[in-house]
């Protein structure tokens, strides 16, 4: 089985979010970049298929040279090959078109991409690459098994979960649940050394339109101080929620 894990290069969760150039660009100054958490769950699940079922695992990213350390980290965790499509990831549709090309060229059986990135939260890429390649698709995936050319997939639905079967090739929008947080791997020294020698192929982008454009960023208006209510006077909270906040 040939697996591709799509890796988004995103600011670490704890990063301060600031903008520059008149609030038109994300300010990367002092920001630590990581593998998108939703992709990391998929990458770890892919390692399981590699170890237990002999799958090969490639990782791909759409981005400039500055995203390579993130791909190297994925290689250090255990991926075999990395592919970087050398262009700025401007819009989900554009990124999906680039990745669809990588998938068609590579002939992958299973593609795992996070259900959304934690920077733009578009939630577009996994579904779009399925529509572009014609492969089956399951989103918000929290369980994945493969036997031969059939996958059994569990997805999170509102208020529960749903299990389906689908033939490969399959695209999965992954998230926590594919593996547990405690199963996530930190690259060890041997992995890091090996990752330096693993192939990282840079491919040029295909011609594609940018269908949406983030033109301006805004930060939420700062919130006022919390109103503290005395635990001996809980009536006051009920009154505030009713009269002031008008939510009950």
């Amino acid at each position: 089985m040939k697996i591709l894990v799509c890796i988004s290069h995103v600011p670490d969760t704890t990063s301060k979010i600031n903008f520059t150039d008149g609030d038109t660009k994300f300010d990367t100054n002092g920001v630590q970049f990581v593998i998108n958490p939703n992709d990391e769950f998929g990458l770890t699940r892919a390692m399981w298929f590699k170890e237990k079922q002999g799958a090969s695992v490639d990782v791909a990213n759409v981005g400039g040279p500055e995203t390579e350390p993130t791909l190297r980290k994925a290689l250090a965790i255990g991926a075999d090959n990395a592919i970087r499509v050398n262009t700025e990831a401007t819009d989900g549709f554009y990124v999906a078109r680039q990745l669809a090309k990588v998938i068609q060229d590579g002939g992958y059986d299973l593609v795992i991409a996070g259900r959304e990135s934690i920077d733009y939260n578009g939630g577009m890429v996994p579904g779009m690459i399925s529509a572009l390649t014609g492969a089956n698709f399951v989103n918000t995936c929290i369980g994945l098994e493969v036997e031969g050319d059939m996958a059994t997939v569990t997805r999170e639905i509102d208020g529960g979960k749903e299990t389906s079967t689908a033939k490969l090739p399959l695209i999965v929008g992954g998230q926590k649940g594919l593996v547990e947080e405690s199963d996530l791997r930190i690259p060890n020294m041997r992995g890091i050394m090996m990752a330096r020698k693993k192939p990282l192929t840079v491919v040029e982008p295909i011609e594609a339109n940018q269908e949406t454009k983030a033109v301006q960023f805004q930060k939420p208006t700062p919130k006022g101080e919390v109103t503290l209510v005395d635990p001996e006077n809980i009536d006051q909270l009920v009154t505030l929620l009713h009269n002031e906040a008008k939510v009950i």
Binding site: I118, Y120, N139, E180, V226, T227
Partner: protein, 322 residues
């Protein structure tokens, strides 16, 4: 060239999210000077949609679509959009709508903006405001494509009543076998509970509750408020509560009108996932818990004392305001 809206239903009843996206679609249609057409798949009483400004309902009745199938649903909605010559298609942020929207966008060669929180800032050029950086910022997105797909964030717009005729038209999309490559074999869903996506109020418990055996009071509090229950990441990691209740950056996003956090410290990942909620209340015995900085109302106190009292007071309030 009406605005098309996918009004989702469950058990032949429209979801609340359906009325919200219908209200929003009416707002967009007014800006564009056009009408609203809804697509309903094995849905409820179409006339209900008229209340929220829908002029026409394309009703699909098809047994093959009795369980949700993203590809087939996207295909059906696409055909409706083409028939109507729709330039804007609006969907909600339920798990199912987020599943089908990117497929729909590709089929329509449309730009897609998810997590949209307001009516378009302008329609020429077409610009919408959406959340980004997991609720730590907004971004204004320009959509130059001929057709646009908009995913509206839950509870961002609310229900707005508007007169619409909601004339019903049968619609029979042609579906191919390729639409049914994913076959649902089992659904495990609590039908007696409010889901986080639908809820106007969410009550959430954290590690401060000490163990799964103490969740009775969280459920009771949720019950009194007609709320959904949720939990923090450590709680779902330890298996105290199911994954489906985990809210936060890697869990479910919450955009409720009221969010009550009990014994949740307020890690940055948790806050990122719930920040879109309008009013936040925290109950925690640690006055230094970061949640107090994010909350609108707070009680510093022992959850095991505060929550039962709060339940009592809310019951009194409900009976006085019934």
């Amino acid at each position: 060239m009406s605005v098309l809206v996918y009004t989702e239903s469950e058990g032949q009843k429209f979801k609340k999210a359906a009325f919200e996206v219908a209200s929003y679609a009416k707002g967009v249609a007014t800006m564009l000077g056009t009408t609203v057409t809804a697509v309903s798949i094995n849905g409820g009483d179409s006339s209900e949609l008229g209340t929220y400004g829908v002029d026409k309902v394309l009703e699909i009745k098809n047994d093959k679509l009795s369980t949700f199938n993203a590809k087939a649903y996207a295909d059906a909605i696409k055909q409706a959009a083409v028939q109507e010559g729709a330039k804007v298609v609006v969907v909600s942020s339920t798990a199912d709508s987020k599943f089908l929207a990117p497929l729909l966008a590709v089929h329509l060669n449309a730009g897609y903006a998810s997590n949209v929180v307001e009516l378009p800032e302008s329609v020429s050029p077409f610009k919408v405001k959406r959340t980004a950086f997991t609720n730590k910022a907004f971004n204004v997105t320009e959509m130059p494509t001929d057709v646009k797909v908009i995913g509206l964030s839950n509870n961002a717009f609310g229900l707005k009543e508007n007169e619409g005729a909601a004339a019903s038209d049968a619609f029979d999309p042609s579906l191919s076998d390729g639409d049914f490559g994913v076959q649902v074999t089992a659904v495990d869903k609590a039908t007696d509970k409010v889901s986080i996506a639908d809820a106007e109020i969410v009550v959430s418990g954290g590690r401060g509750l000490k163990g799964p055996e103490n969740w009775g009071m969280i459920e009771e509090l949720a019950d009194v408020l007609g709320a959904a229950t949720a939990c923090s990441k450590p709680v779902s990691d330890m298996g105290w509560r199911p994954h489906s209740e985990h809210v936060g950056q890697t869990g479910k996003p919450v955009a409720s009108n009221l969010y009550i956090a009990v014994g949740v410290s307020g890690a940055i990942q948790h806050l990122a996932g719930i920040n879109a909620s309008k009013v936040k209340v925290v109950i925690n015995n640690d006055p230094e818990a970061p949640f107090f900085k994010a909350a609108d109302y707070g009680i510093v106190g022992d959850a095991f004392e505060v929550v039962p009292k709060l339940i009592e007071k809310l019951k009194e309030f409900k009976s006085n305001n019934a």
